[in-house]
């Protein structure tokens, strides 16, 4: 793969994937929080940004851009399944 394409794929995995996962973690947190919905929202906004930072770091630390995408897509799929299950059982 050309180095330019490799970098572009990593940038996309880091930023788009990173933000997407942040949103999914936030959603899962808010929807599973047992208390009041305001508490769910406030407590739920403090942690997800850490996910963004970790994914962005990972996107450039992993051996290939494909691995970065595999992680992003794998984790997204896992979170989406959890969200779907949550909807199903509610």
């Amino acid at each position: 793969m050309k180095p330019g394409v490799d970098i572009l794929l990593r940038v996309l995995a880091g930023f788009v994937g990173g933000y997407g996962l942040t949103v999914l973690v936030n959603l899962l947190w808010v929807l599973t929080w047992p208390g009041h919905r305001a508490d769910a929202v406030y407590w739920g906004t403090f942690f997800p940004y850490v996910v963004f930072v970790i994914i962005l770091l990972l996107a450039f630390a992993l051996r290939s851009a494909w691995r970065a995408w595999a992680w992003v897509l794998g984790l997204s799929a896992l979170l989406l399944v959890l969200l779907a299950l949550l909807r199903f059982f509610k």
Binding site: W29, Y42, L56, F60
Partner: protein
């Protein structure tokens, strides 16, 4: 992506740091200014010079003056909000605000006689705060700043990974060694010293804006996202009656309000002049770290107490705690100065990082852009100059525009902002036309002149300057101008260093090795 984790992190730190550093410098610099937002606004309205006698006018009298003015000038209107901000430590003037059909009005009142203090039209320090989190580009700007904040956190972590030998590096400052070494050491010292501050300020900046950055989470449980605020801040509003009513003097409610919330910082009158008018007293935000204001509401017609909120939901209190430690409204002047200094060091960290990128490549070109490398390196250097010196000069030009633009031109405050924005363009053109080191020096000299000539410029325009501020006892305006002069001194110390680099005075170490070679 590189052979080892460290090398990958170094690559990431270099490139994300370069591209986002350009933006982050402007964001950090305007954020540093935002600490003194109200002081800067006050300085930008020199007509509103305050005298020590103003602060001695008792609160009740200030409220009477403000209420009388609002009842005369603001209309009875459904959903109207009148605000009264009396004089306090960081708010030097008595101010009233209201909206007529969505159009905002702000007026300063003389607390001694109730007369309107007519001031020049300016957005003051608020414009710098606004730029800090929106880049004056609304929602898009906020999203860009948010992304830059995430990159800043990544930069901090990758920076720590690169400098694993942290503490060894930390105690090394090779000031007289080669230029690259000392820039690197300066970058490391600045980074390590304020690392906790940088993590705190960047993280809290992100967490502050859930409505913008994580709207889906709120929409998942709230049909109307505005209801979230209602679950944190109790509302004591009353329905609009569409019927004129005489309001009581709100100052007569002060003892009751003070008993309920200890101290009164500012107040709001909802549906003023209507039978359903409500007056709400808010506690000053400097009472504690978390930026929540206990509040007490009364009917503004009958004076009956409608409710008090002094208890806060834990989660909302922690959330507003993050807001509080970002905005530093607690801790008085000492805390403000600490934040200001930490902000300056942060700017220094970003600037030295940007400079380091080009110095390293000037010495040993890396051909990272193939045949175009030399050209692209000089373009990068020009953008570096624009990012650093352009931002500094933009703020100074904004201050100058405030002093020299004629009072009568329409949209005066927008012209101040245009001058601010245009400075970056001029800075870039200049940096592209001149050799890098000369461009650095000339823009530095320009900035120093802008700082130092400001009092003279004020004098020529018949405006008060440093000495008059001091003589009148207006400590805030004096403080702002004195700080600008000091910043000039700080910038001036950089000029001889650039001159030295231009004349190629070799550092001791290279001079020594030359002797050995010959």
């Amino acid at each position: 992506m590189k052979k080892t984790f460290s090398l990958s992190m170094a690559w990431l730190h270099t490139w994300l740091g370069l591209y986002l550093g350009w933006l982050l410098f402007a964001v950090f610099l305007t954020g540093t200014m935002a600490v003194f937002e109200h002081s800067i606004t006050h300085w930008m309205q020199p007509e509103a010079l305050v005298k020590p006698a103003h602060a001695e006018v008792i609160l009740a009298r200030q409220l009477d003056i403000a209420q009388a003015y609002l009842e005369q000038h603001a209309n009875r209107e459904k959903g109207s909000n009148w605000m009264i901000a009396p004089i306090s430590d960081n708010h030097p003037s008595l101010e009233v605000r209201w909206r007529v059909k969505g159009e905002a009005h702000e007026v300063l009142l003389n607390p001694l006689n109730g007369e309107v203090v007519s001031t020049r039209e300016t957005e003051g320090g608020a414009m710098l705060t606004h730029f800090h989190y929106t880049l004056l580009a609304g929602l898009t700007g906020t999203l860009i700043v948010g992304m830059a904040a995430v990159v800043m956190l990544v930069g901090l972590i990758s920076g720590i990974v690169i400098h694993k030998r942290f503490f060894k590096d930390f105690f090394t400052f090779r000031r007289r060694s080669s230029a690259q070494r000392s820039w690197l050491d300066a970058h490391n010292v600045a980074g390590v010293l304020i690392l906790p501050f940088l993590f705190m300020i960047t993280y809290t900046g992100l967490v502050m804006q859930p409505n913008t950055f994580l709207p889906l989470g709120i929409k998942a449980v709230y049909e109307n996202p505005r209801a979230l605020r209602g679950d944190a801040v109790q509302s004591f509003e009353q329905p609009y009656q569409a019927e004129t009513a005489k309001m009581i003097k709100v100052s007569s409610l002060l003892p009751q309000a003070q008993a309920a919330i200890q101290s009164v910082g500012w107040l709001m009158i909802q549906n003023g002049g209507d039978a359903g008018a409500v007056v709400e007293f808010f506690q000053n935000l400097d009472r504690r770290i978390s930026a929540v204001a206990d509040h007490a509401a009364f009917s503004a017609v009958t004076g009956r107490m409608l409710g008090v909120q002094t208890e806060w939901r834990d989660s909302a209190y922690v959330y507003r705690g993050f807001v509080g430690i970002h905005m530093a409204m607690f801790g008085g002047w000492v805390m403000s100065w600490l934040y200001f200094l930490a902000g300056l060091v942060s700017c220094g960290l970003i600037a030295t990082g940007l400079i380091l990128f080009t110095i390293k490549r000037r010495k040993r070109p890396e051909h990272e852009f193939g045949a175009m490398s030399t050209r692209i390196y000089s373009l990068i250097e020009a953008i570096n100059i624009t990012a650093v010196m352009g931002s500094i000069n933009a703020i100074l030009i904004y201050f100058w525009a405030n002093r020299v633009l004629p009072m009568e031109i329409p949209e005066r405050s927008s012209w101040e902002v245009r001058a601010f924005l245009l400075t970056w363009l001029v800075s870039l053109l200049h940096a592209l036309l001149r050799k890098p080191l000369y461009a650095w020096r000339e823009q530095l000299v320009f900035a120093v002149l802008l700082c130092w000539l400001l009092p003279l410029c004020a004098r020529l325009n018949g405006l008060p300057s440093l000495l008059e501020f001091w003589r009148h006892g207006d400590g805030i305006a004096f403080g702002v101008e004195a700080t600008i002069l000091l910043m000039g001194l700080l910038l001036a110390t950089a000029i001889p260093k650039v001159s030295k680099a231009i004349h190629g005075v070799p550092s001791k170490r290279t001079a020594g090795s030359h002797k050995v070679a010959y």
